[in-house]
Subunit: 189 residues, 2 copies
């Protein structure tokens, strides 16, 4: 493909993803209708779905972008740093709330569950890899299986998103993250 078309394609995909993210953030997963997506993106449904198969494909691609960014931080600095970054970005709270709204769908719609899991696998892998490294370095508590620690951190991530979406005070939540960080460490570290 000539360079100029590639650039155009990339710019168009970017426009669609940015608009879709704003739309999901404003209306929530269910209420982000195709009509509202058209308005937020500034393109017709024909143009949008030429690039992404359907609403769920768009949503998964946004989840994938998040997972990549979060996995990058998680592998270098751990999942707790990912959460601290969330506290510091209040403009993202609306979008984060969509992660709660899909819980029912994740449980009752196997195809949706699989699509979502594939896109968020990177973050889980990065978290596990980082925990294993911390363990080898003797920084992780040893009386609790790594698997349980990973589930614990993931549960705290969901809880944090719920609190932020509810409008809780980020400063108080920062103190909670200190406690969580302490609770996965080797005592004395």
């Amino acid at each position: 493909m000539p360079k100029v078309s590639e650039d155009h394609l990339a710019a168009r995909r970017r426009q669609i993803l940015d608009g879709a993210r704003r739309c999901f953030a404003e209306y929530g997963y269910e209420q982000a209708t195709v009509r509202r997506l058209e308005e937020s993106i500034g393109l017709s449904r024909g143009a949008i779905f030429h690039h992404f198969r359907d609403k769920d494909s768009l949503f998964f691609e946004l989840a994938h972008e998040d997972a990549e960014r979060m996995a990058d931080v998680a592998s270098r600095e751990g999942l707790i740093q990912v959460m601290r970054n969330m506290l510091a970005a209040p403009d993202q709270f609306d979008w984060l709330a969509t992660r709660l709204e899909i819980a029912r769908k994740l449980r009752t719609d196997p195809a949706f569950h699989q699509g979502w899991s594939e896109r968020s696998a990177e973050l889980a892998a990065a978290t596990h890899e980082r925990l294993a490294r911390q363990k080898r370095a003797g920084r992780l508590r040893e009386d609790v299986p790594e698997e349980v620690l990973a589930t614990y951190l993931d549960l705290v991530l969901d809880g944090l998103i719920a609190k932020l979406a509810n409008g809780d005070d980020p400063a108080q939540l920062g103190a909670v993250l200190d406690l969580v960080e302490h609770s996965v460490r080797q005592p004395g570290q």
Copy 2:
């Protein structure tokens, strides 16, 4: 009011609340329309809204029933026991998922936020009261303010609900609760 009418009134309210709970559990907060409420309850909207002002009043009354039951356990055995009871009641997971679905509404609709907070105040009060008692008994860690511990437990509750709503394994989550319980205790207890 004569006894028979009182009994009838109580039975009717019970029928409405039980049907509404099933309806919210099946369809989620947003998709539980008045039409679906009529079907699940087996009464017309006129009859339903003679007893409860609107859909939100119904929802708040159900939240209030939960909060009362949970506060009762929390004040005697703590919020972690409330969470262990949740793990043991998979038939409630669908209903619990509604707590996540209202996060956006809680943040953007002040009247809804106030109605919800009033109905869940009992649980927060019971948790605080129990933490204070545990602290006096020397069972609570002392290096973290009680306020932070309360927020932590509340965040874990939301995270647990998200995991259950997603379909995570309750056994693995039980091991996570052991870790959480340990992390709020005085070391050596």
